[in-house]
């Protein structure tokens, strides 16, 4: 029997689920291997309330989110955190550095007290996560690596080294050499150094590597002219929940 797969949206733009749909050439193969039972961005009906694999896009930001993710965890065999909002909190965590009441007033105006919120959490702060697909948005290649690995019963190859590795292999001119700042030295690779390859800096969307030398990175950014506040701002864009942003 094909494993049943369900997609769930929490606080996010649902862009990572769109990336899944963008796997156009692979979709027929994947649908041959799994049965998708719930995916609101792609299908109207929910064909089954049972599922083996749950893909979770988005951060946990309300009390009801907490209850919902717990109930999904109880039902699913495998839970995959899908995209930066789910794996590291991502940009949703920016609000954690402001009073939540202010945030609610700013977003919801007069009826702010009508809307519940809690400090942003990444999924594994609430329930156990079995696999993580990083990025904002996720990369198609890594998504395929995780899906095929799950189907084959092997551990997926998820890089735990910095973006600099992939940037050097691509023989890009270093972002720092162009007089710009970059979070590449401490940010998890797997994107193929996409942003630096197109002339931008790395903004850290895939989260930090396991053992980053964040003090050295902070020193580096300061030496290049950023104030401490600006350094923190760089990190807080995506890595608000990590130690480095505190």
């Amino acid at each position: 029997m094909k494993p049943k797969v369900a997609f769930f949206s929490f606080t996010s733009c649902e862009g990572c689920q769109l990336m899944f749909l963008n796997l156009e050439d692979e979709l027929l193969n994947l649908l041959g291997a799994v049965e998708i039972v719930k995916f609101r961005e792609a299908m109207k009906e929910v064909t089954s309330d049972e599922y083996d694999v749950a893909f979770i896009e988005g951060s946990i930001t309300t009390h009801s989110d907490i209850e919902r993710i717990k109930s999904i965890r109880e039902k699913t065999k495998i839970l995959v955190a899908f995209g930066a909002c789910a794996t590291i909190g991502g940009i949703n965590a920016i609000k954690n550095f402001q009073p939540l009441e202010d945030v609610r007033k700013y977003v919801y105006g007069e009826r702010w007290d009508f809307y519940d919120t809690v400090p942003t959490m990444q999924v594994d702060q609430v329930v156990k996560v079995d696999a993580a697909i990083h990025g904002c948005p996720v990369s198609k290649k890594e998504m395929l690596e995780v899906i095929t690995s799950l189907l084959l019963g092997k551990t997926p190859n998820i890089p735990d080294y910095p973006v600099c590795v992939e940037c050097k292999l691509a023989e890009n001119v270093c972002v720092f050499d162009k007089g710009m700042m970059c979070l590449g030295p401490v940010t998890r690779a797997g994107c193929g150094a996409l942003c630096p390859s197109y002339g931008n800096k790395c903004i850290g969307c895939r989260g930090l590597i396991t053992d980053p030398n964040t003090n050295a990175q902070k020193d580096l950014l300061e030496e290049k002219g950023l104030s401490v506040a600006e350094v923190l701002k760089e990190f807080r864009m995506f890595d608000g929940l990590s130690e480095v942003s505190k």
Binding site: L23, E26, N29, L30, G32, A33, L144, E145, I147, T148, S149, L151, L152, N157, D160, Y161, P162, C164, V165, K168, L169, A170, E171, V173, C174, F176, D177, K178, G184, P185, V186, I209, T210, D211, P212, N213, N215, A216, Q217, D219, L220
Partner: protein, 344 residues
């Protein structure tokens, strides 16, 4: 083989003749830096480049190379992939020639590496001698690689109005005969080369305050040095010292399976001993977890172990490691401090 002379104005015709018959890669401008790339015309060649971001090792040992194609499923099968195509590498500097020479020895060692060797055998190296160091990061004189003595097919030296051409191999000579208006070098040309060489000796300086033949001995006595801990504090472990090094040859292997769950490819991808995962083995044990241990490992490979194993230095002093280090860890300083001396 006897050296030849090509007039300055004839170099364009020589390169164009090479381009007409061959795939030619050469240093080209890439943003504010240089990179070896395939060229279609002489005008794309940056003859006056100082150093490329990556060395031409990428042509023999690509960053990401398929070495096996396999099929899973009911009838599993596997087939080795060895791809190679003839190539002329034009404009290689002596340090990169020396690095290639080391890689030739390493990859030919039993078990020989067909993926490297097949590409290498089909490549012709036309070197370009350097009159001055690339920049303040070069320490090629210390590592004795600033003059190319072997490892090239042709080596050109710019003598002002002409190129002095050392001929290293018959393949190089054949290209010269077929494509260049080359003449025999005269006694005067040899004298001019000697004068040029005298000037070169002055413009390249030693930066390490001792003969690097003592490096194995110094590194051998430095296992407990405080230097490793000191540089570990600022090391980002980004791996750029390895990924840009012309003599690094460590790779990782990854299997990628297509979405049909049948077709797969095994890739070998450049790796770096500075990365956290590099020395992690099955069971999760990591026998070089500490940053300082990783750094000590790299310096020992560059300055000691490869020399002892292959008779050739693992470092050619091109300076790419130091040049690309965001936190300014300097090989020259490390070697100097290890010997208990202050940098000049």
């Amino acid at each position: 083989m006897l050296p030849k002379i090509i007039k300055k104005d004839d170099l364009r015709a020589f390169v164009e003749a090479l381009l007409a018959e061959n795939v030619v890669v050469a240093p080209t401008k890439k943003g504010i830096k240089y990179a070896f790339a395939e060229v279609d015309s002489f005008d794309e060649v940056a003859l006056d480049y100082n150093i490329t971001m990556l060395s031409p090792r990428k042509y023999f040992y690509p960053q990401n190379e398929t070495v096996l194609k396999f099929k899973l499923g009911e009838k599993p099968s596997a087939e080795a992939v060895v791809e190679s195509a003839p190539k002329i590498i034009f404009g290689m500097h002596p340090c990169d020639v020396a690095a290639t020479w080391l890689l030739d020895v390493v990859f030919a060692e039993d078990p020989a590496d067909p993926n490297y060797l097949s590409k290498r055998k089909k490549a012709v190296i036309i070197g370009m001698n350097c009159a001055k160091p690339c920049d303040e990061f070069s320490f090629c004189k210390d590592m004795k690689s600033y003059n190319a003595t072997a490892g090239f097919d042709l080596m050109l030296t710019d003598l002002g109005d002409k190129y002095f051409v050392e001929v290293g191999t018959e393949a190089g000579e054949a290209l010269l005969v077929a494509g260049a208006q080359a003449s025999e070098a005269s006694a005067d040309d040899l004298k001019a080369l000697q004068e040029w060489q005298n000037g070169k000796e002055k413009s390249f300086v030693n930066r390490i305050p001792y003969d690097t033949k003592f490096l194995p001995e110094i590194l051998g006595a430095s296992d407990d040095s405080l230097v490793w801990e000191a540089i570990a504090r600022k090391c980002l472990s980004c791996g750029s010292c390895n990924t840009t090094c012309p003599t690094c040859y460590c790779f990782t292997v990854r299997d990628e399976v297509a979405s049909n769950l049948v077709d797969g490819e095994r890739k070998r991808i450049w790796d770096s001993c500075q990365l956290d995962e590099f020395a992690e083995v099955a069971g999760g044990e990591n026998f070089r977890k500490a940053r300082s241990a990783r750094l000590r490992h790299r310096f020992n490979r560059k300055g000691k172990w490869l020399l002892e194993r292959y008779g050739k230095s693992g470092c050619v002093g091109c300076g790419r490691c130091d040049r690309n280090c965001l936190v300014k860890i300097s090989s020259v300083e490390v070697y100097t401090q290890l010997a208990g001396e202050r940098a000049k």
